[in-house]
């Protein structure tokens, strides 16, 4: 069993049962279970999330991308300041970047006001943050490899062909 194969399978579909994975990979269920536990322990598997298009629900949802510039600290570099940011639950993802800005942070909130509040009262106040630039997400076309557009679902194959 190749590690990449099992990971590639569950990367696309997190809700495979261990029994299905065992069948698909022609392994016994116990060794799949042990492998999954090992992946989880090693933080190779970091979670099993569901991709939800909140725009299709009644829940108010606003997302923003924030470019943040910082002053890195002696010896620890960006680590301390990064921790102070990513521990906020509003932060959905965060990356240290090459180029003009240091961090790209994606945050989720229920309203523009909530986003503004987070940037003004939490993010911008962190020691070491020298500038932020906040861009509101207008529409998400693709997330985590999944295309949101319903156009993609309209194609139909023939029911029976040779």
């Amino acid at each position: 069993m190749k590690d990449e194969h099992i990971l590639a399978l569950i990367e696309k579909k997190a809700n495979y049962s261990t029994q299905d994975l065992a069948t698909i990979l022609q392994e016994d269920e116990q060794s799949i279970l042990e492998k999954m536990q090992e992946f989880e322990k090693e933080k190779i598997i970091c979670g099993y999330h569901t991709i939800i298009n909140w725009d299709k629900t009644n829940k108010e949802n606003v997302a923003a991308i924030i470019f943040a510039d910082t002053t890195p600290e002696q010896e620890v570099g960006y680590e301390n300041i990064a921790r102070k940011i990513y521990n906020y639950p509003e932060v959905e993802s965060m990356h240290l970047m090459s180029g003009k800005n240091d961090f790209i942070i994606r945050i989720n909130g229920s309203s523009m006001k909530e986003i503004a509040n987070f940037v003004a009262t939490k993010l911008a106040c962190i020691d070491g943050i020298s500038a932020t630039s906040t861009l509101i997400v207008l529409q998400t076309y693709k997330s985590n490899g999944f295309i949101y557009s319903q156009e993609e679902d309209k194609r139909e194959r023939l029911l029976v062909n040779p």
């Binding site: 194969h5 590639a8 399978l9 579909k13 495979y16 299905d20 069948t23 698909i24 990979l25 022609q26 194609r155 194959r157 023939l158 029911l159 029976v160 062909n161 040779p162």
Partner: protein, 390 residues
């Protein structure tokens, strides 16, 4: 007007496709879950689609050389060497409108009236009509599940007469998923050489192999000039609608066959050819991704059928399984018709691929595991409804 009086007797002798009948039946119903298609469910990879769009945008809308763009033929040769260790040069290639055209022009080029063409059956539905339209006579070589649907030396010898012109074979196979390996083919080489039989080898599923490496009769140098390989982009590259395939063989033979292609087709569509160049140059990773996905589905669906007490071999290639439904007491046609009307699941009776496949059904796994899982739940319910001991 009574068209039977004006239509060619060859055409009239061709029976309507058994698949067509099931297509019509399935289309009349709402909410059908199909396991009945012979085409991939993946979209053509985007980089290939983008290359075609770019070719149109940049005004590449002309005819190409009859045999196809030289760049594409070079890439086909590189691909054959890279994937299958087969050496051909661009002059040995005709780019065709799907593998279907390649089959047709190869048959028409070789077959005289009354010539016999051996077709291992069950077989792809277009082979028999192709032989008949070319004026040939079909000699079926019955394959058996006990032998994993492989051709043996004895079964081949039994089909040979002084009229035998060619054998038209297809491995990995539609509909059985069967595969011939190098050792299996080696048993046939002397017979093919001795009887001067031309080989039409449809290798369209060559990339979709789950064990071992793809074998071809063209690997045997002593008969390589008797072999014509049919291949294309529909299956491995998920490009069915682009209608692009090719024929590979000895340059002298290809030059003759090209006469049919040039007068009948002129050339394959140029935008499809540019798309295929992109696929061959940069698409190996996608082909492998799709192969691994089919491998996963195969393992899932084979187990699901066997768990229902329906004997199903694990095929080594393509994207079909060929369950043996004889234990249900139903014929292939009855099984598929009743399954469709009772549970709205579409499969294809084995008999659509030849009478020797009575007792089997073709089930495609070119579907997501979620779709397969829904279909299997319905199949289970059907088996319970007919009182079968699952």
């Amino acid at each position: 007007m009574d068209y039977t009086k004006v239509l060619s007797t060859k055409l009239l002798s061709i029976k309507p496709s058994g698949i067509r009948r099931f297509f019509d039946l399935a289309n009349e119903l709402e909410g059908v879950v199909s396991l009945g298609v012979g085409e991939p469910d993946f979209d053509t990879p985007w980089h290939i689609r983008a290359a075609a769009i770019y070719s149109i945008e940049s005004g590449q809308t002309t005819y190409t050389e009859n045999q196809g763009l030289l760049e594409l033929r070079k890439e086909v040769c590189k691909y054959q060497a890279r994937h299958f260790k087969l050496n051909y040069s661009p002059k040995d290639v005709i780019i065709t409108v799907g593998g279907s055209e390649a089959i047709d022009i190869a048959l028409r080029a070789l077959v005289n009236d009354g010539d016999e063409v051996i077709i291992p059956t069950p077989s792809y539905v277009a082979y028999e009509p192709g032989v008949i339209l070319a004026g040939g006579v079909v000699v079926p070589l019955a394959l058996t599940s006990e032998n994993e649907f492989k051709i043996t030396a004895e079964s081949l010898l039994a089909c040979i007469s002084d009229k035998t012109k060619a054998i038209l074979l297809n491995y990995p196979n539609n509909p059985t998923g069967g595969v011939m390996n190098h050792e299996d083919y080696s048993q046939l080489v002397d017979i093919i050489k001795e009887h001067n039989i031309m080989v039409l080898s449809d290798e369209i599923y060559g990339d979709l192999l789950y064990e071992g490496t793809h074998a071809s009769l063209a690997h045997f140098e002593e008969i390589k000039d008797q072999v014509l390989i049919i291949n294309g982009f529909s299956k491995g590259y998920s490009m069915t609608g682009w209608r692009l395939g090719y024929l590979l063989g000895n340059e002298a033979l290809i030059e003759e066959i090209n006469k049919i292609h040039q007068y009948v087709i002129m050339c394959a569509p140029i935008m499809s050819q540019y798309a295929a160049i992109e696929g061959l140059k940069h698409g190996d990773q996608n082909v492998e991704m799709m192969r691994l996905e089919y491998f996963a589905r195969r393992n899932y669906i084979v187990k699901a059928f066997n768990d229902l007490n329906i004997k199903t071999h694990t095929p080594k290639g393509a994207f079909y399984i060929f369950p043996d439904i004889r234990s249900t007491g139903l014929s292939s046609e009855d099984f598929c018709e009743q399954l469709l009307s009772d549970q709205k699941v579409a499969c294809v009776p084995g008999t659509a691929f030849g009478e020797t496949a009575e007792g089997f059904i073709r089930v495609s796994y070119a579907y997501s595991i979620d779709e397969i899982s829904i279909a299997m739940a319905r199949i289970k319910q059907f088996l319970i409804n007919i009182g079968y001991n699952t």
